[in-house]
């Protein structure tokens, strides 16, 4: 056993006491079995925290209104002086020690989650700003900031501190229900703050620790570009301002280590001279470096007590022992023990007796006899172990005995007699036993003091816990009440949804009883029930969507039913076609039908019926009724017209003709008419029950067409498009998210870009029309009545009017840059405006007296021609088409007198009305001609003079255009559906344009000369206007139409077929995408000029 000097022992004792006291304070509250820490070094990291603090976690929020102002943001305060808003700003920083702003708690996953005060604010920092603006505190119901890792290291050897903390901001939108307008809450991202080598210096004067030196860094990846991070402790900023980068150095950390760190993050917005910041307070309750003893820590040696060796009993030793102590002592009594030795051999010499107190050697002596005793004065309360070891140094045999002694305790160290300090002070005299006694007393007092401290703290915290608990219970009750209310509301809502499901399903079942075809929709509904009713809950949005989808399908099914009706009627006509075909031994179809059929694989049948024959039939029926036919007669007219219309399409070969045209004579036509009439009679019989059936059918389906945008997709219209070649025009995407959306990538954007190169405003207007939907109304009302005297112009029409007044628009159309849909919309707008102008002109003439009667009474009708007057006509798109009309007086005999004057008056008023409507007639290419009359007496340069040509001109206009007539009630009827099929000569005789076709001498020697004169006139006028020659292709496009008219004037009714090259001429006229070149152009040009007697160099280039 080593012997030590008195001074050393003294130091050891004091150090032991001090260490014990410090550790007792530092160790976590409610500590369980706390291991003695590594000497001089304390490490607290997250797992330890969770272990230690689970019983004491609590949630509490700072009462911002009660908090005191802190000085860590002096710049704000100074800058903003006495403004009231300033005083309130830092108020959310609680500086009250007793106010536990932030405590650590467990997260659901045993992570440590920081609850606390996160305050976002912004303030103006320049330009004499008005200081802090919009300070908003957040009271988060859910964790917003989470500590991912936290490591604080305090090295007491070096008296320095270092640490790393990573926090992450989680943006939980659901937690912001209590946000008021303007509050900021957005804190996604992470921040890693690390600091090291921070020295801890004790300040006697203030009895606190001060932080000195050290360095740190903050890696900020929170949302936004934050420019400053401050680490504040005890109201002192520990850092300098950082840089604008995400990595902010913390230099010269110094300040007072308080029980909380305040992290301030600022984000500066120079553009608006505004800063956005966040302040985060982090409590550090697990570390309290205050020094209640007011003593400087001293670097003393620990007492060097000799620990007893662990010796085992030698059972075969030639001696035995028996030892005993008083098992129970009162406080203040000494421990007395005795030992008896029984020697079984005379060879046994002196024995070493070692008395051991609580594991430490208290005394040691050599015994020659059979007895030894041990006296331990003033043992501290508690259970002590006294062990005696008897060792034979010669043989190494050992006998051991141990006794427990229970010493009664004191209530507190204060009540214990102060015996130890004196003992300790005289420890040198008292030897090892006193030293051990002092140590044990020190241990006891420290433990007791800790115990008392714990009890006091436990009592205090128990009180707080109770308060917290009650508060929590109150909040729980409140939350539960809210939850119950929500639950009741939810249940009611669920019941309502279930009711809605039953209602809808019942309704659907009723519907499918009437409409068998929709039966599958019940299955569809049932199949999808599982996805709108999940986990025992109805999904309101899903149910609504499902109903919408089923409704859409119902509409489609109804359309199909309507289509079936059309097909049924169509089949009727098809049978006739078959008969016609067999008679003619021809399988040719019109080009239009071929095209439609090809592109839609038969689906085009759907459109053919209503647009071509059926609509014609309906209008024919209306006309028939206007002529006085009613009931069965009118129905007969319908059937006849429907059949004849189709038949005569074949016969007359409208459009490009079949490769080997058949010669059809009058006899054949008459035969066919007869056959069709027979069919018609049968059809009439079928319609006896409901003579209005076709009309009802059309009207009914028409309504559906009006409300169901999908039908266009089911009924494609063939037309050329701005892609390559013919395309099937389907409905544009029905779904168009509200607002502006891009039509992009395929042609559209490129087209608009190219248009903008021509004219930016033009491109804008084209896009605006697209944004408006570029809607074309296929069922525009054709009757303007006194009660509805004009077409109302929509916003889209207003845009379209800008386009038709823009000279560049025509260029863009010719270049193929304007989508067909837009072209059609523009044409329809122009048509509306022109129709309004015509109606206005009619009304104006009502009030003009001409030879004793109103000028309007002299007028017969206005024939509207020009492809552009038929917006839905496939030929109307792809090239800019004009809107031409001719006003015609009642009686040709009046030409040159009142009738002619009435025509001129009409034209003048029409032009005036057009101007007032904001349309530039020249740019828009809207022309109103004052009559086309065959009168050699009054030659006019703008029209034919020969009777035959005048007739065919009228026929062309009538068959390809529309006609406006005055109704008895003062209204105006525009008779033609835009897509109506042309009226044929035979039909004209019976049901034509309100009159029988005029009779004229078939052959006129002047016909060719008349046409030639007109061609010369037009070409010369254009050359003088443009100043340059016109190439043959352009001449053919513009003036080629005269050749077929000349031919028809001479050959109509003869049964002869029109020469093939005239088909090319007409196609050039009608299809701007059709071109001729090379030998083919030369051939057509040669035929044309020779046939018309025109010079080969007509136009200057030929």
């Amino acid at each position: 056993m080593k012997k030590r000097g008195l001074g050393v022992l003294r130091c050891c004792a004091v150090s032991a006491i001090l260490f014990t006291l410090i550790w007792g304070i530092i160790q976590p509250v409610s500590a369980g079995p706390v291991e003695r820490p590594e000497q001089g070094r304390i490490v607290v990291d997250v797992p330890d925290v969770t272990q230690y603090y689970h019983q004491d976690a609590k949630k509490e929020w700072s009462d911002n209104n009660q908090s005191t102002v802190v000085d860590y943001a002096p710049d704000i305060e100074q800058e903003n002086g006495s403004q009231n808003t300033v005083a309130a700003v830092p108020a959310y920083i609680a500086n009250d020690q007793s106010d536990d702003i932030i405590v650590l708690d467990y997260g659901p996953d045993d992570g440590v989650i920081l609850y606390g005060s996160l305050t976002w604010y912004n303030f103006s920092d320049g330009g004499g700003g008005d200081g802090v603006r919009y300070p908003h505190d957040l009271r988060l119901q859910h964790p917003e900031i989470e500590i991912e890792t936290l490591l604080l290291e305090i090295d007491f050897n070096q008296m320095s501190m270092s640490g790393t903390m990573k926090i992450s901001g989680v943006d939980d939108g659901s937690s912001h229900s209590n946000l008021s307008e303007g509050e900021h809450y957005y804190a996604a991202g992470t921040a890693v703050i690390s600091f090291q080598d921070v020295s801890l210096v004790w300040e006697d004067e203030y009895e606190r620790w001060r932080l000195e030196g050290g360095s740190g860094e903050a890696q900020i990846a929170l949302e936004g570009s934050y420019y400053r991070i401050s680490l504040v402790s005890g109201g002192t900023d520990l850092s300098d301002e950082g840089s604008t980068s995400g990595s902010v150095p913390l230099r010269n950390i110094s300040g007072i280590l308080d029980d909380k760190l305040i992290l301030e993050i600022d984000h500066h917005c120079p553009a608006v001279e505004e800063s956005l910041g966040a302040i985060l307070e982090i409590h550090t309750p697990q570390i309290n470096l205050s020094n209640p003893q007011g003593e400087q820590p001293q670097q003393e040696e620990q007492p060097q007590l000799e620990e007893a060796p662990d010796l085992s009993d030698s059972l075969n030793a030639p001696f035995s022992i028996s030892a005993g102590c008083d098992a129970s002592l009162a406080s203040g009594q000494d421990i007395d023990c005795s030992l008896n030795i029984q020697r079984n051999s005379e060879d046994i010499g002196p024995l070493t007796v070692v008395w051991i107190m609580d594991g430490y050697v208290a005394s040691e002596e050599q015994v020659l006899g059979d007895y030894s005793s041990f006296h331990f004065p003033n043992p501290p309360p508690g259970t002590h172990t006294v062990q005696v070891q008897v060792v034979d140094n010669t043989t190494g045999n050992v006998r051991v005995a141990a006794m427990d002694v229970e010493v009664g305790g004191f209530a507190s160290p204060d009540e214990a007699p102060d015996r130890i300090p004196a003992g300790a002070q005289t420890a040198s005299a008292m030897g090892t036993t006193a030293l051990i006694g002092a140590w044990l007393w020190a241990e006891w007092m420290a433990a007791k003091a800790n115990s008392l401290t714990d009890e006091r703290r436990d009592a205090k915290e128990a009180k707080e816990r109770q308060a917290w608990y009650e508060n929590q219970m109150a909040r729980n009750d409140e939350v539960r009440a809210r939850q119950q209310a929500r639950q009741r509301e939810e249940e009611a809502n669920q019941n309502a949804l279930e009711g809605e499901w039953k209602r809808y399903r019942g309704g659907l079942l009723e519907t499918v009883k009437k409409h068998e075809k929709s039966k599958h929709l019940v299955d569809l509904l049932d199949d999808l029930q599982e996805v709108v009713y999940r986990d025992g809950k109805w999904d309101a949005d899903g149910l609504q969507r499902l109903e919408r989808m089923i409704n859409s399908r119902l509409v489609l099914d109804r359309e199909d039913e309507a289509r079936a009706e059309w097909e049924r009627v169509w089949d009727f006509n098809k049978r006739q076609e078959a008969e016609v075909n067999s008679i003619l031994r021809s399988h040719k179809m019109s080009a239009l039908e071929v095209g439609a059929d090809l592109l839609t694989l038969g689906a085009s049948n759907l459109i053919f019926m209503p647009t071509k024959a059926f609509i014609s039939a309906i209008y024919a029926r209306r006309r028939a009724m206007m002529l006085g036919k009613t009931g069965t007669d009118a129905a007969g007219s319908v059937i006849k017209e429907a059949g004849l219309s189709l038949l005569l399409d074949y016969i007359s070969g409208k459009g490009p003709r079949p490769a080997t045209p058949k010669v059809i004579g009058k006899a054949t036509i008459k035969y066919l008419e007869k056959r069709i009439n027979v069919r018609a009679e049968r059809g009439i019989a079928a319609l006896q029950d409901d003579p209005e059936m076709p009309v009802h059918l059309w009207q009914g389906t028409g309504e559906k067409l009006g409300v169901v945008p999908k039908l266009a997709a089911k009924l494609p219209v063939v037309k050329s498009s701005w892609g390559n070649g013919a395309q099937t025009n389907l409905a544009s995407p029905v779904y168009r998210p509200p607002g502006n959306n891009a039509l992009m990538r395929v042609g559209m954007e490129n087209g608009l870009d190219r248009i903008s190169q021509i004219d930016t405003g033009l491109a804008d207007n084209v896009r605006r029309i697209l944004d408006e939907g570029a809607q074309v109304d296929p069922h525009i009302n054709n009757v303007l009545s006194p009660g509805n005297p004009s077409y109302t112009l929509t916003p889209q029409d207003e845009i379209a009017r800008n386009l038709i007044n823009n000279a560049s628009y025509k260029e863009a159309v010719q270049d193929g840059l304007v989508p067909n849909r837009v072209q059609q919309a523009v044409y329809q707008t122009r048509d509306k405006v022109a129709r309004n102008a015509a109606a206005e002109a009619f009304r104006a003439l009502d009030n003009i007296d001409l030879n004793g009667q109103s000028a309007s009474s002299y007028l017969k009708n206005v024939t509207v021609t020009g492809t552009g007057a038929r917006p839905l006509n496939p030929q109307a798109v792809g090239g800019y088409a004009d809107w031409d009309a001719t006003v015609i007086a009642q009686d040709s005999n009046l030409v040159g007198s009142a009738g002619r004057q009435a025509e001129e008056l009409f034209k003048a008023h029409f032009d005036d009305a057009l101007r007032q409507a904001g349309v530039n007639a020249d740019t828009a290419e809207v022309s109103m001609f004052s009559g086309v009359h065959a009168s050699p007496d009054v030659p006019v340069s703008v029209g034919y003079n020969s009777e035959g040509l005048a007739h065919w001109h009228k026929m062309d206009m009538a068959c390809e255009g529309q006609s406006a007539v005055r109704l008895e009630d003062g209204g105006v009827m525009f008779n033609a559906h835009p897509d109506a099929a042309p009226m044929q000569e035979t039909l004209m005789k019976e049901f034509g344009q309100m009159e029988a076709a005029p009779r004229f001498q078939t052959v006129s020697g002047d016909v060719t000369a008349d046409a030639r004169r007109l061609v010369h006139c037009h070409v010369n006028a254009q050359i003088s206007e443009t100043g340059g020659p016109i190439d043959p292709l352009a001449v053919l496009r513009q003036e080629g139409k005269h050749a077929p008219r000349v031919w028809k004037a001479s050959n109509a009714g003869s049964g002869a077929d029109m020469p093939g090259w005239m088909d090319d001429v007409m196609r050039l006229k009608n299809d701007p995408n059709y071109y001729l070149s090379g030998d083919k152009l030369e051939e057509v040009w040669k035929n044309y000029t020779e046939y018309m007697g025109l010079p080969p160099n007509l136009g200057g280039e030929g």
């Binding site: 912004n122 103006s124 330009g127 700003g129 008005d130 603006r133 919009y134 939108g173 303007g182 900021h184 949302e223 570009s225 917005c269 553009a271 608006v272 001279e273 505004e274 599958h520 569809l524 199949d527 999808l528 996805v531 999940r534 999904d539 949005d541 899903g542 969507r545 989808m549 399908r553 489609l556 071929v594 090809l598 592109l599 694989l601 689906a603 079949p658 490769a659 997709a713 089911k714 892609g723 390559n724 070649g725 395309q727 099937t728 389907l730 995407p733 029905v734 779904y735 998210p737 607002g739 502006n740 959306n741 891009a742 039509l743 992009m744 990538r745 395929v746 042609g747 067909n820 849909r821």
Partner: protein, 399 residues
């Protein structure tokens, strides 16, 4: 219930100001990358301008300093740091509508923000508040026009390049249909040489006319590699012949089988098409990408799937309109109703399993209920009308 923000139609300067107010430059995968200008951002927000008048700002102070509303910050976050992008394509023969949407979360658990860029005009449109249900409904409404209870039904997997050539063949068939009708020629032979097919494919490519499937395919799957050189077309045709879709009768002539001809007639030209691509922004090819083509005789669902050989495969599945509706409807549902659970997906699953054996020229082992092609003997799924290996049409009882 929060009211949805108004859509914004702003210029580049206003966009920069918006970004500044939202707290910084856009992230690496943001669609706003490169659109932030510090000079523009430094300009004061124009009084009475679009931004100032919008409900995106939550107030304006005495110094004209504004801040973004909470909803606006959320919307901008979806654009600044998107985690998911959604591309919705709706089109027909005349035009195509492409809408790009972004979300700061997943597809189903967050609102989507439409961002449209019109650089040439210096205009940018931002429309927040789009729900997955709206995306689903858009597809539903747009694609509902196809056959409902009838039409072709089949499933066939093809490597992406072979799929392109397959589409060229369908286009070729339709081309001949057009020509024969225009020329009144009833005797049509659909045989072709690789050169003729290549030439026609190039015409279609040059025309960029979406009525042709081969021109449309790259638009539907912009992420896939579809380039095929003239030299390789023969090999790909041989591959299709090996699968039984074409019959190579002599050295240079290929004949499409009845199935391919029927498919061309049912599909080309299509009435309508669309696609929905949902992509995790960080990972290029992860996500969900389905395309739909609706013809007069079939509804075709196309799905890209990575193959083992590095090449992507296209799964072509034809379904009736009801099944298509179910599939589309589920796209807009919350996440727990996953698309993979739909019948169409379940149907596709066994076919996917067959993909590997098909490539290895192995015939899948059949179950008891398995049907077999009457021509080539390949295993067939119940209900299919054409053999997926050789394309032979099956009789009602056959197989």
């Amino acid at each position: 219930m929060k009211a949805a923000l108004q859509p914004l139609n702003i210029n580049g300067q206003e966009l920069s100001q918006l970004l500044l107010l939202a707290g910084g430059k856009p992230g690496a995968v943001s669609p706003l990358q490169g659109l932030f200008s510090e000079d523009d951002a430094a300009m004061r927000i124009q009084p009475g301008g679009v931004l100032e008048k919008s409900d995106w700002l939550d107030g304006q102070g005495q110094q004209g300093i504004s801040s973004l509303s909470v909803q606006a910050r959320l919307a901008m976050r979806a654009l600044q740091h998107p985690k998911t992008s959604v591309q919705l394509v709706l089109g027909d023969l005349q035009e195509i509508l492409v809408t790009e949407m972004y979300s700061a979360g997943g597809f189903q658990d967050d609102e989507l923000v439409i961002f449209t860029e019109r650089k040439a005009e210096n205009r940018y449109v931002i429309r927040p508040g789009v729900s997955p249900g709206q995306v689903s409904d858009a597809l539903l409404e747009h694609l509902m026009i196809g056959p409902r209870l009838d039409g072709l039904e089949f499933a066939l997997p093809l490597p992406s390049k072979a799929a392109l050539v397959f589409c060229c063949v369908l286009d070729w068939i339709h081309t001949l249909r057009l020509l024969s009708k225009l020329q009144n020629d009833r005797q049509i032979s659909f045989a072709f040489t690789p050169q003729a097919l290549w030439q026609r494919a190039m015409e279609i490519q040059m025309g960029d006319d979406l009525m042709w499937l081969s021109a449309l395919l790259p638009y539907l799957f912009p992420n896939l590699e579809f380039t095929v050189s003239e030299e390789k077309i023969s090999g790909l045709l041989d591959e299709l012949a090996g699968m039984g879709y074409l019959d190579k009768r002599n050295d240079d002539l290929y004949y499409p089988n009845d199935f391919v001809i029927s498919l061309a007639d049912a599909l080309v030209p299509m009435l309508s098409f669309g696609s929905c691509a949902i992509r995790q922004m960080e990972e290029e090819l992860t996500g969900f990408h389905l395309a739909f083509v609706v013809g007069v005789g079939t509804n075709l669902v196309l799905e890209a799937a990575p193959g083992t050989d590095g090449q992507h495969w296209l799964q072509l599945t034809a379904v009736n309109g009801i099944e298509l509706s179910k599939l589309l409807f589920r796209i807009g549902l919350p996440e727990d109703s996953e698309i993979e659970e739909t019948p169409i997906q379940e149907e596709m699953a066994p076919v996917k399993e067959e993909m590997a054996p098909a490539r290895e020229e192995k015939t899948p082992v059949s179950a008891e209920k398995q049907r077999f092609c009457t021509k080539c003997g390949a295993a067939m799924r119940p209900g299919v009308k054409f053999c997926t290996k050789c394309g032979h049409q099956q009789s009602e009882r056959g197989g």
